[in-house]
């Protein structure tokens, strides 16, 4: 054999191509990388859990005949007008500014058809989304962009945002290309600035102050509206306890996989904890305070399928929230956009430059021409379809576990495929009765 062997190139596990590319990019530009979306690396997730369908020792429900309820009441601890949703999948807060007005309208339409709520974001309430959303949650963020008492009174619930899973401890960001006249006007900002939002609320620090702040908002709205507190998962056990003590009606817990419109890549990938291990800590905190199911828990961060919904609820959540998946349902990253995405250095299935406003799907943009591409009625229909599928899937799994309501799923319906996920989710490793981390 005289032919030369093709040499095998060895890629460094430490300095892999992505790491090299990032060093080169940093050296070129002198600034950190900013992008949208959530954590891209693999972290323990709902895929690492399995549901135990019934057989002999448990009794399943008839798949197409027997009822499996899906409704959920949020905020009945103190609010005079709690929210009653038909399905336990809500649309997470995404700002007008990050998203086009058409996208916000489409989210409102889809959510309303499906019988769930949608949420404003870091930028105030638009008439488009208020008009189309039967249940609208109004975010109260550190920046207080567009915050005003008239919209507060128009909201169905108020969500005090302490953090986001993509960036617990970090403030919002919206780059200049998206600060158009309308967005700037709503945020009282000069047109075209790179907006940096505060990471701390301007007028309170710590849980004792938060209690007074919650009381203020209740006073302003005459104790009608549920008050949610949204936490980016990092120390959920303590944060949930403090939020409940401060008077929250509902806790929204966002894991590290949670999407963002624009954040430093290093933040997205390295700060916070996966939703899988955040839920048991939150549930434990609620149970210890005798508040589980009294203060509702909404969880988010990488929810894609009805299986994710069912597993999150089995772990003790009352509902889930979706961000990224809702955008995909509207048409984000659609294969039909592949050519256009390639022209801007990405491809369908990979696009995450939601910060720069060039989204060919017309969703994460303020460019009027691009925004026109998204038909809010068609977008709303697609989202409603997707939400229906999520619920049908979750019901299928719940019935198989013998549950007549999604809220009846419980941790005993779950096992874990890996040691990590068993320890984090606090359910036994499949085929054993061993829960790592719970003593021997």
């Amino acid at each position: 054999m005289s032919e030369k062997q093709t040499p095998v190139l060895r890629e460094s596990a430490t300095f892999d191509r992505l790491a090299i590319q990032e060093i080169q990019r940093a050296a070129e530009t002198g600034i950190y990388d900013i992008r949208g979306g959530g954590t891209k690396r693999k972290v323990p997730h709902f895929d690492d859990l399995l549901l135990l369908g019934a057989s002999m020792s448990r009794y399943p429900l008839e798949g197409y005949r027997e009822k499996c309820g899906t409704d959920v009441i949020l905020g009945n601890r103190f609010a005079k007008k709690p929210i009653h949703l038909k399905i336990p999948v809500t649309i997470a807060g995404m700002s007008f500014g990050a998203l086009s007005a058409n996208a916000k309208e489409a989210l409102g339409r889809g959510a309303t058809i499906a019988g769930t709520s949608t949420t404003t974001g870091d930028g105030g309430m638009t008439p488009e989304e208020r008009g189309q959303s039967q249940h609208l949650v109004y975010q109260y963020l550190p920046s207080r962009y567009g915050m005003n008492p008239d919209d507060l009174r128009k909201a169905d619930a108020i969500e005090i945002v302490l953090g986001q899973g993509a960036k617990p401890g970090g403030g919002g960001m919206l780059l200049g290309m998206k600060i158009t006249e309308r967005v700037a006007g709503m945020r009282t900002l000069p047109i075209g600035v790179d907006q940096r939002s505060a990471c701390r609320h301007p007028d309170w620090t710590g849980p004792d102050d938060l209690a007074i702040k919650i009381a203020e908002i209740r006073e302003i709205t005459d104790w009608e509206k549920p008050i949610y507190v949204k936490i980016g998962a990092s120390r959920p056990y303590y944060d949930v306890k403090l939020a409940v003590k401060a008077g929250a009606d509902v806790i929204v817990l966002d894991g590290m996989q949670g999407g963002t419109a624009a954040t430093q890549e290093v933040f997205i990938e390295h700060v916070g904890i996966p939703i899988l291990c955040a839920i048991p800590q939150a549930v434990q905190a609620l149970q210890e305070m005798d508040m589980h199911r009294k203060v509702q828990l909404i969880v988010s961060g990488g929810i894609r399928t009805g299986a994710d919904v069912a597993k999150a609820m089995a772990m003790g959540a009352d509902a889930v929230a979706i961000g990224t998946a809702a955008l995909i349902a509207l048409g984000d990253n659609h294969p039909s956009l592949d050519d256009e995405l390639k022209k801007i250095g990405s491809a369908a299935g990979f696009y995450d430059d939601w910060q720069n406003g060039k989204d060919p799907a017309g969703i994460t943009t303020q460019d009027p021409e691009l925004a026109k591409r998204l038909d809010p009625i068609e977008g709303g229909r697609r989202l409603a379809n997707y939400l229906r599928v999520l619920v049908l899937e979750a019901q299928t799994m719940a019935r198989a576990c013998g549950k007549s309501h999604l809220l009846n799923l419980d941790p005993e319906d779950l096992v874990a495929l890996t040691m990590e996920s068993a320890a984090m989710a606090r359910v036994p490793l499949a085929g054993t009765n061993w829960v790592p981390g719970q003593g021997f």
Partner: protein
Amino acid sequence: MKTFDLSSASVREFNQALHDQAKQLEEREWRVSNSGGKHNLAVGVNQPLDIVIDGHAGYYCAGMNQQANITVHGNVGVGVAENMMSGSVRVKGSASQAAGATAHGGLLVIEGDAGARCGISMKGVDIVVGGNIGHMSCFMGRAGRLVVCGDAGDALGDSLYETVIYVKGSVKSLGADCIEKEMRAEHIEELRVLLDKAGFDVDPASFKRYGSARQLYNFKVDNASAY
């Protein structure tokens, strides 16, 4: 005039009575006694009422005010007139932190001193302080005017957008991207009107003007050390 004694009535009853005026105006003048430093007094009012609070108020007094003129004969806690939209709030004593935080409009007058973060994230309100203000005041101020007849603490106007700051006394230090600017005739004039409105007899020409250098509006490598 309607009077409310907060030693017997609750804050809830008081605020509800004020809110009911938005549906049907029955009484324009309100006077509150025994405020006892209670939190959330006269929040979310949305009518041109005249409200006088005799005594100290706690956190968020006059929060999110619309249209009403509210006077406090005492000191106020954190976040007086936070997110005010219109109307006016006058504090005869001093104010704690975050006075006028994020407020969009109206006039906030503090006759005594204001603590740290006065006018933080303000979005169009006019704030006039008779005494001194604490550190980090006007952080990320977006719009409106902050007038200080005394001295300002550290890091005044850090990361400022378009709020204009006038200080008569000393400024301990300026925050990132905040600079002193020329005091031209039109500034003296606008300040004269504002001081008049606030009821202060001080020479507007004795103030210095501060504003944003606008260097941090867009991310630039050369500014990395300022972030």
